[in-house]
C-alpha cells in the first residue's frame, strides 16, 4: 500500500495521575512502532520522561515539553508533520486536538488529524454533548436535569424513575452528591443541596448505581468495517468506578441477548460517529430487566483498551495506528497467530481478571478509602485463568504478593454487624470483606442484596471458601488438587491446613493466549499458568529449540505510588538491550497497563504473579540461563536465592545487595568503615538533598549526573523537584559526592545501577541512603544526559566493564541546557488527603522541563505539571513557625513582581516589620472575611501553605489547602518550592515565547 504520510506527530498523555497510568505510553509505543514500520518519520511530544514512546528507538525526534496547544503548535511549525495522531494522548491529547482544529490552523499548516476527529470529541466530551449525541443516535442515555424547585425535582424523578442522584448545581466547594430512593428523601435533601448552589439549583440524574457495568471495545476502519474486540464486566455495580472494581473479561453474567444487544449498540454508536480507530462504550445494564443506558463513549485509547489488548492478545492501539493510515481491518496481520487478521474478533478460552491497587497508605489515616463514582486506584494487575477463581486468586496475589491469598486477617476481628456495615459502603478492602462474609456463612442471596454483586461472582468466591474450609478440615490429595486448580499457592495451603510439609505436588502447565482459542497454531509465545494436562510452554520449547542464551526479566507488577512506571520503562529497555546483544528474552509481569506486558516487548511473555511459587513455575518450564530482577523492585529481588538454588544466574541486584542497603544499621556500618559521613538515625539533618545514579562494574563507576533537590532533604526525594545539572552545589561538594560514590561502589562490588541519596548540611556531604532497585530518576537523567543508562546498566549486570562501554568513568560531563524533574500529585482525586510533603512519597507521576537556563526549565516544568501560571493577583503566605524567617525573602520576591501578598496576622506582622507590605488576613476561626474568602473570591494566584496538619494550631489549614486545590489554585507546600517559582517568574518575562526544542 502506498503511504500518503511521510511524517506524523504523536501526542502523548503527560504525567501519571490517578486514572491515567502507563496505558497511554503503551498505546503510544504501539502506534510509534506501527508508524515506524510503515516507513513514516515519527515525532513525539510528551511532558512525561518516564515513557517508552519518548525514546529515540521509537521516535525519530522527541520533544519533552509541556502538553498544551501552544507548545504543540510550535512543534508543528518546527517539524511540519503531514498528520497528527492524538488517540494515545488521553483527555489531554483530545483537548489539544480540539484547539488545533480551530480557526483553520491545521489547513494553514498542511496537516491533518488522524484518529479521533474534533466533531467526535466534541460530541462525547461532556455529559450534555453526550446526551444530545445519544439522542440523535437513538441510544438510551441517562436522564439528567437541573431543577430550581422541589416541584421540578419531583417531576423529573417521577419521569426518570427513582432512585435519583442529587448534587448542587454551580457549587463553590463541590460538596458531593446523595442518592434519593423516593420522593420523601428527595424533598428532604433538596434544600440542603440547593443551599450549597450559588444559584439555588440542583443537578438531578437518574441513579443507576445498582446496575451492572459493562464496557465494549469496538475497532472500525475507514470503510466502516467494525468488530467488537471484547466486553468487560465489573464485579461491582455502576456505583463503584470501574477503575476501582474487580473486572472480568469477557462479561460473564449476561444472557446471549443482552450481550448481543450491547455489542450491537457499541458498534452502532461507533458507526454513527464514523470513528476510524477504537471506541469504548460503557453501559449500565439493569440486573434483570435487560434495560440499558449508555454511560460514556470514549474515542481514545485508555486503561480499558489496554486491559482488553493484553487479555485478548488483540493489540488495539497498533490496529488503531494501521486503520488511521487507511488500512482495512482484514489487511492488518495478527502478529500472534501469523495467519489471522485484525478482522478476527478474538475468541477466548479463558477468562481474565483485573484487580485494582490503591495507595491510600501513603496518605495516612485521614485519606477517605471509600469507593464511589470517581476513581482512586493508582495501579492494577491482571491474571488469566481457565476458570474465574484461578484468575482471581492469581490477580489478587499479583497485587498483594505478601498476603498471597484473598483473606485479610484483620477482618476476622470484626463483628458480623461491622462486617455488614462495611459491605454496604464499598471501600478498598471490598473483595476481602465479601470473602470474609462468605466464610462466615452469610447466604449468597443476602450478599447479593447487600452488595449488588452478581451471584455468579459470589458463587465463585464460595467455591474458594469451600476449598479453604476443606483444607482446614484436613489435607487430602483430593482437596489439595481442588485448591491448586482454584489457584491456591502451596504456602497458603500449608498455612490453612496447619501442615509443615506438603505430601503432594501438582505440576503447573502453561496455556497460550492466542486470540483464537487454539483454533490456529501460534507464532508468538504468550503464556499464563493453568492446571491443564499439556504444558504448551514446554511444547513450544520442544518445537523451537533454544538457539541463544536466554534471560528472564522479572517485572514490578502493579504501579503504585513509590513504585512508578519508571520500572516498566527500565525493564522494557533492558529487554531491548538483551535482544540487541543477541540474547533470547523472556518477560514475567502482570500489569496490564505496562509496556513490558506487550507481547512484542520480549521474545516470550508470561503474565502471572511474582510470588516465589509462580516465579519458580515459570523457571521450571522455561529454564532460563539467567535472570534480571533489579527492575522488578524489592519484591522481585527477594526471589534471587530461590533462583540461585535452581541453578539460574542472577544478574544485577539480588536479595543480599538489597538487604544490605535497606538495613540501615548494616549500611551505616559500612559507611563508617569507609569513613563516609552519614545521616545516622540519631541526627536529623534538615539540609539540601542531592542524589546520584551510578553505573558500576564493581570496580569502576560512571555517574551520569548529580541531581539536586529543591525541597529540603526531609521531603521524600520522589516528591522533590530534581534539578540537573545542579545549580547550587559547589565543586567541592560535587567532588565529595563523587569521592563517596567511588568508595561505596568499590566496597559493595556490585554490578549495575545504584542510587545514592545525599544530604548537604553546613557545607558537608552526608550519605543518607542507597538503593540497588531504584530507577525513579533514570528516565529523566537518561533524557537529560542523552546516555542510554538502562542499556549500560544491563550490560554491566551481564559482566561487561565500563571500559567495554567506553563512555569514561567518574562524573560524566554536564550539559549546557538545564533540566528539571517536577513531581505531579493526585491529591484532587483523593478526598481527605492533604497537600503536604514528608517522608512518605505521595506523587503519582512526573514531568520534565527543558530550558536554556535553570529558571526557564523550571518554569516549563511547573507548566507541564499542570500548574496555572499567573503573573498578577494575590499570594497568600501561611507558613509553619520554622519557615517564618524564610518567608520574608519569599514575600519580597513575589511583591517585587507586583503580586499582592496576603498573610495571617503573625506572619503579616513579621513581614511588615521587615519592610514587606503584607495584607493581614484573618484565619478561618477568626471569622469572615478570612483566608477561605480569599480563595472563594478567586483573589489568589498562589497559596504558600507549609503548616503541618499535626502541628498546626489551626486544623482549618488542611481545608484551606484542599479548597485551593479543588479550585485549581497552585498550592506550594514548601518555602523552597515557592521561592524557586518566584525566582523563575522573575527571570522569565511573560512576553517571551516559550522555547521549544527536540532532545
Amino acid at each position: 500500500m502506498k503511504q500518503p504520510f511521510k511524517k506524523i506527530l504523536v501526542i502523548g498523555a503527560g504525567p501519571v495521575v490517578i486514572g491515567q497510568s502507563s496505558e497511554f505510553d503503551y498505546a503510544g509505543m504501539q502506534m510509534c512502532r506501527v508508524l515506524k514500520a510503515a516507513g513514516i518519520q515519527v515525532v513525539v511530544v510528551n511532558s512525561n520522561p518516564a515513557t517508552v514512546m519518548t525514546e529515540h528507538s521509537l521516535a525519530d525526534s522527541v520533544y519533552i515539553e509541556p502538553l498544551n496547544s501552544e507548545v504543540v503548535k510550535k512543534v508543528i511549525e518546527l517539524e511540519k508533520p503531514d498528520a497528527i495522531l492524538a488517540t494515545a494522548g488521553g483527555k489531554t491529547g483530545l483537548e489539544i486536538c480540539l484547539e488545533l482544529s480551530q480557526n483553520g490552523y491545521l489547513e494553514e499548516h498542511g496537516t491533518v488529524l488522524l484518529g479521533a476527529q474534533p466533531e467526535v470529541i466534541k460530541s462525547v466530551h461532556n455529559a450534555q454533548a453526550l446526551q444530545s449525541m445519544l439522542k440523535r443516535a437513538d441510544e438510551p442515555y441517562l436522564p439528567a436535569e437541573i431543577a430550581g424547585s422541589e416541584e421540578e425535582a419531583v417531576a423529573f424523578a417521577e419521569e426518570a424513575g427513582y432512585p435519583v442522584r442529587i448534587q448542587a448545581a454551580f457549587s463553590a466547594e463541590g460538596g458531593g452528591s446523595a442518592v434519593c430512593a423516593d420522593q420523601a428523601e428527595l424533598c428532604a435533601r433538596f434544600p440542603e443541596f440547593a443551599g450549597r448552589s450559588l444559584v439555588g439549583q440542583v443537578l438531578l440524574q437518574k441513579c443507576v448505581d445498582a446496575y451492572k457495568e459493562i464496557e465494549v471495545a469496538v475497532v472500525r476502519d475507514v470503510d466502516g468495517n467494525a468488530i467488537s474486540v471484547c466486553s468487560t464486566e465489573s464485579m461491582d455495580t455502576v456505583g463503584v468506578h470501574s477503575g476501582d472494581s474487580v473486572i472480568v473479561l469477557p462479561a460473564q453474567t449476561l444472557t446471549d441477548a443482552e450481550l448481543l444487544m450491547l455489542r450491537r449498540a457499541a458498534r452502532k454508536i461507533t458507526g454513527y460517529l464514523q470513528i476510524v480507530g477504537a471506541c469504548l462504550v460503557r453501559f449500565a445494564l439493569h440486573p434483570t430487566n435487560g434495560r440499558y443506558f449508555v454511560l460514556s463513549v470514549e474515542p481514545e485509547l485508555n486503561r480499558t483498551t489496554a486491559l482488553i489488548s493484553k487479555a485478548t492478545g488483540y493489540p488495539i492501539a497498533a490496529v488503531c495506528a494501521h486503520v488511521a493510515l487507511g488500512e482495512r481491518l482484514y489487511e492488518i496481520p495478527n502478529e500472534l497467530t501469523g495467519v489471522t487478521t485484525a478482522a478476527n474478533e478474538p475468541a477466548l478460552d479463558y477468562c481474565a481478571v483485573r484487580v485494582p491497587k490503591w495507595s491510600f497508605e501513603q496518605f495516612g489515616d485521614s485519606a477517605d478509602r471509600r469507593l464511589d463514582l470517581s476513581m482512586k486506584a493508582t495501579g492494577e494487575a491482571f491474571a488469566i485463568g481457565t476458570g474465574f477463581e484461578l484468575a482471581l486468586l492469581k490477580a489478587i496475589r499479583s497485587i498483594h504478593p505478601k498476603t498471597q491469598h484473598i483473606g485479610l486477617p484483620k477482618l476476622r476481628m470484626l463483628s458480623d454487624e461491622e462486617l455488614e456495615a462495611r459491605l454496604r459502603t464499598p471501600d478498598n478492602e471490598r473483595i476481602f470483606t465479601v470473602y470474609e462474609s462468605i466464610k462466615r456463612g452469610v447466604s449468597l442471596h443476602k450478599l447479593h442484596e447487600t452488595t449488588g454483586i452478581d451471584l455468579f461472582f459470589l458463587s465463585k468466591l464460595q467455591n474458594i471458601a469451600d476449598a479453604e474450609a476443606a483444607l482446614r478440615g484436613g489435607l487430602t490429595e483430593e482437596n489439595y488438587r481442588r485448591a491448586k486448580h482454584l489457584g491456591f499457592l502451596d504456602s497458603v495451603i500449608l498455612a490453612v491446613s496447619g501442615k509443615e510439609t506438603l505430601p503432594y505436588h501438582a505440576a503447573h502447565s502453561f496455556n497460550t493466549v492466542d486470540t483464537c482459542a487454539a483454533e490456529f497454531d501460534v507464532r508468538k509465545p504468550y503464556f499464563y499458568s493453568a492446571w491443564d494436562e499439556e504444558n504448551e510452554a514446554a511444547m513450544f520449547l520442544r518445537e523451537h529449540p533454544q538457539q541463544r542464551k536466554k534471560i528472564l526479566v522479572v517485572g514490578a507488577g502493579p504501579t503504585s505510588i513509590g513504585l512508578g512506571t519508571d520500572r516498566d520503562y527500565a525493564a522494557y529497555f533492558a529487554l531491548q538491550t538483551l535482544h540487541d546483544f543477541g540474547f533470547e528474552t523472556v518477560m514475567l509481569n502482570n500489569n496490564p497497563a505496562a509496556n513490558t506486558t506487550d507481547f512484542a516487548a520480549a521474545d516470550k511473555l508470561y503474565v502471572d504473579p511474582i510470588t516465589a511459587e509462580d516465579v519458580q513455575a515459570v523457571c521450571e518450564t522455561e529454564k532460563p540461563d539467567g535472570v534480571i530482577l533489579a527492575f522488578g523492585g524489592g519484591e522481585a529481588v527477594r526471589k534471587s536465592e530461590l533462583l540461585r538454588e535452581m541453578g539460574i544466574t542472577v544478574y544485577g541486584a539480588d536479595a543480599e545487595a538489597h538487604r544490605l542497603t535497606k538495613n540501615k544499621i548494616a549500611f551505616f556500618d559500612i559507611l563508617d568503615k569507609l569513613n563516609i559521613r552519614h545521616t545516622s538515625n540519631r541526627r536529623v539533618l534538615i539540609g539540601k538533598g542531592a542524589e546520584v545514579d551510578v553505573l558500576t562494574d564493581g570496580a569502576d563507576f560512571l555517574i551520569p549526573g548529580i541531581c539536586e533537590h529543591i525541597e529540603k532533604a526531609s521531603v521524600h526525594s520522589g516528591d522533590s523537584i530534581s534539578v540537573y545539572p545542579s545549580v547550587t552545589l559547589s565543586d567541592a561538594e560535587k567532588g565529595m559526592i563523587v569521592e563517596y560514590t567511588g568508595r561505596l561502589v568499590r566496597e559493595l562490588g556490585f554490578k549495575g545501577l545504584l542510587n545514592i541519596q545525599f544530604v548537604i548540611y553546613d557545607n558537608a556531604v552526608y550519605v543518607s541512603s542507597a538503593s540497588v532497585v531504584a530507577t525513579r530518576n533514570i528516565p529523566f537523567l537518561s533524557k537529560a544526559t542523552a546516555l542510554p543508562i538502562i542499556e549500560f546498566a544491563t550490560r554491566l549486570m551481564l559482566g561487561e566493564t565500563l571500559s567495554d562501554i567506553g563512555m569514561g568513568t567518574g562524573l560524566y560531563k554536564e550539559p549546557e541546557k538545564s533540566f528539571v524533574r517536577v513531581p505531579v500529585f493526585s491529591f484532587e482525586q483523593l478526598a481527605g488527603t492533604d497537600v503536604q510533603l514528608g517522608g512518605e512519597m505521595q506523587s503519582t507521576g512526573e514531568v520534565m522541563g527543558v530550558g536554556r537556563s535553570f529558571a526557564e526549565a523550571l518554569l516549563k516544568g511547573f507548566i507541564a505539571s499542570g500548574m496555572r501560571i499567573k503573573r498578577t493577583g494575590g499570594v497568600l503566605i501561611s507558613v509553619a513557625d520554622s519557615d517564618k524567617p524564610a518567608s520574608v525573602a519569599l514575600a519580597a520576591a513575589f511583591q517585587k513582581q507586583g503580586f499582592k501578598v496576603y498573610a495571617t496576622s503573625n506572619t503579616a506582622k513579621l513581614l511588615n516589620a521587615n519592610h514587606v507590605a503584607a495584607n493581614a488576613v484573618r484565619k478561618m476561626h477568626e471569622g469572615a472575611p478570612n483566608t477561605l474568602t480569599l480563595i472563594l473570591q478567586n483573589r489568589l494566584s498562589y497559596l504558600v501553605s507549609t503548616a503541618q496538619p499535626s502541628s498546626a494550631k489551626n486544623p482549618d489549614e488542611v481545608r484551606i489547602r484542599r479548597t485551593a486545590l479543588l479550585r485549581r489554585i497552585p498550592v506550594l507546600p514548601s518555602v523552597e518550592t515557592a521561592a524557586a517559582l518566584a525566582a523563575c517568574l522573575a527571570e522569565n518575562s511573560a512576553a517571551e515565547e516559550m522555547f521549544v526544542e527536540s532532545l
Binding site: T255, Y330, A347, D349, T512, E519, F520, E534
Partner: protein, 360 residues
C-alpha cells in the same frame, strides 16, 4: 461448581483419551467431535440442527452462567453430546442448571477436560469421531462403536414431515423454504421483509415447488456431508431452471454449488465459531460471521461461467459465497444474522431485491 464424583471420559477414534467429570446424563454418547469457539450462545448451539449427530466441545470455558429458564430453553437438542470446561451451578428461582437441563433431556455431557488439548487434537486431525463415556473398562467394544458410527440420513431425520406455512403481513413475496434442518431464527429475516413462507420437507421435488409458484426459493442450512444427499441435489438442479431467484445458506449453499457442477471438499480445519471474517470482492466490505461447517466449496471447481466467488474467508481464502450467472441467485456459507445492524443481514435485502427484479 458442585463436587462431581463421577468421572467420565472422551475417547477419540485414534484412541486419544481425555478424563473429566460427567455432566448431564451419565452414559455413553458417540458422534463426530467438533469444537466451537463462540462465546456464549450455548442455548442456541445445542439446538442448532447443523450439530446433528455431533459431540460439541465449546472452547469458551465458563458455560451456563445464566442457567436455563423457560425463556431461553430450546425445543430440541440436536447434538449427541456436549463438552465444556466448566458449568455454573448458580441459578435464579425457576432456572435449571446446564447439568440439570442436559439430564432432563437425556444428553450425555462432559466437563473439566483440558479443552486446549482437545482443540489441538481436533484441529490437527480434521474429521474425528469419538465418544463420551463413563466406562472405559471395555475399550475394544467402545472403539468398535466409535468406528462404526456414521451420520446418515441426518436431513431426513430432522426435516419437517409436512409443509408448514408462515404468514407475513403484508405478504409481498412467497418464498419456498427447503428445510434441510436449520435453526428457525433465520426465518425472521424473510418475514420481516414481507415474505410469507412455505417450509417444505427436504424431499419435496422441484415440480412440487413450482406448483406453489413461489417468488423465491431458500435452500436452508443443515447437518452433515452434502455429498450424502444426491437426490436433493438433483432436485436443486431442477429448481435452478425454474427462473425463480434462489438464495442458499450453509448446507443449502454447498448442495446448490454441487448441483451446478462444482465440487465440495472436506476442510483441513472447519469453521466453527462466531468470529469468521468474510470479505466481499465486489464491495470490499468485511463481515463478521457465524459458521459451523467442516466442508467447503472447492474454489478451483467453480466455473467462472457458472458463478462468481464473491465472498471469501479472510483467514484461509476458502469460498464463502457464490453469485450465480445462469440464474438469479446467490448463496453463502455462513449463517446470516437477522439483526439489521449486523454485517450480514444484507443477504435478505439482496434476495428480496432479486425477487423484485424477477417480477419486472
Amino acid at each position: 461448581m458442585k463436587q462431581q464424583p463421577q468421572k467420565a471420559y472422551l475417547v477419540l477414534e485414534d484412541g486419544t483419551q481425555f478424563e473429566g467429570l460427567s455432566m448431564g446424563k451419565v452414559g455413553t454418547a458417540v458422534g463426530e467431535v467438533v469444537f466451537n469457539t463462540c462465546t456464549a450462545s450455548y442455548t442456541s448451539l445445542l439446538s442448532d440442527p447443523t450439530y446433528y449427530g455431533q459431540i460439541v466441545a465449546q472452547t469458551y470455558p465458563l458455560v451456563g452462567n445464566r442457567g436455563i429458564s423457560a425463556k431461553n430453553r430450546t425445543s430440541d437438542i440436536m447434538a449427541n453430546g456436549y463438552i465444556v470446561r466448566e458449568w455454573c451451578d448458580v441459578t435464579e428461582e425457576g432456572e435449571m442448571t446446564l447439568d440439570e437441563y442436559l439430564r432432563s433431556r437425556g444428553i450425555v455431557g462432559l466437563c473439566g477436560i483440558d479443552m486446549r488439548r482437545l482443540t489441538r487434537a481436533l484441529r490437527e486431525k480434521g474429521y474425528v469421531k469419538g465418544a463420551i463415556t463413563d466406562r472405559i473398562d471395555d475399550m475394544d467394544a467402545l472403539m468398535e462403536q466409535i468406528r462404526a458410527y456414521t451420520i446418515s440420513g441426518a436431513v431426513e431425520a430432522i426435516t419437517v414431515r409436512a409443509p408448514q406455512h408462515l404468514d407475513a403481513a403484508p405478504a409481498n413475496f412467497r418464498v419456498c423454504v427447503m428445510d434441510y434442518g436449520f435453526p428457525r431464527e433465520i426465518l425472521d429475516g424473510f418475514t420481516t421483509r414481507g415474505c410469507s413462507l412455505d417450509i417444505l420437507p427436504a424431499f419435496y421435488s422441484a415440480d412440487q415447488v413450482r406448483a406453489l409458484s413461489p417468488d423465491g426459493i431458500f435452500l436452508s442450512d443443515g447437518p452433515a456431508d452434502p455429498d450424502d444427499n444426491p437426490a436433493f441435489i438433483r432436485e436443486i438442479a431442477a429448481m435452478t431452471k425454474l427462473g425463480v431467484p434462489i438464495f442458499a445458506v450453509g448446507l443449502g449453499h454447498q448442495m446448490l454449488a454441487l448441483a451446478l457442477g462444482a465440487q465440495i471438499e472436506k476442510m483441513q480445519q472447519g469453521h466453527r465459531g462466531s468470529n469468521q471474517p468474510v470479505l466481499c470482492a465486489n464491495t470490499n466490505r468485511l463481515m463478521v460471521t457465524e459458521q459451523n461447517h467442516g466442508y467447503a466449496v472447492r474454489s478451483e471447481s467453480v466455473s467462472p461461467d457458472c458463478a462468481q466467488i464473491f465472498l471469501t474467508n479472510v483467514n484461509d481464502g476458502s469460498v464463502e459465497g457464490l453469485l450465480y450467472r445462469t440464474f438469479p441467485g446467490f448463496s453463502v456459507q455462513f449463517t446470516p444474522s437477522t439483526d439489521a445492524a449486523s454485517s450480514t443481514s444484507w443477504v435478505f435485502d439482496r434476495f428480496v431485491q432479486m425477487m423484485q427484479e424477477a417480477r419486472k
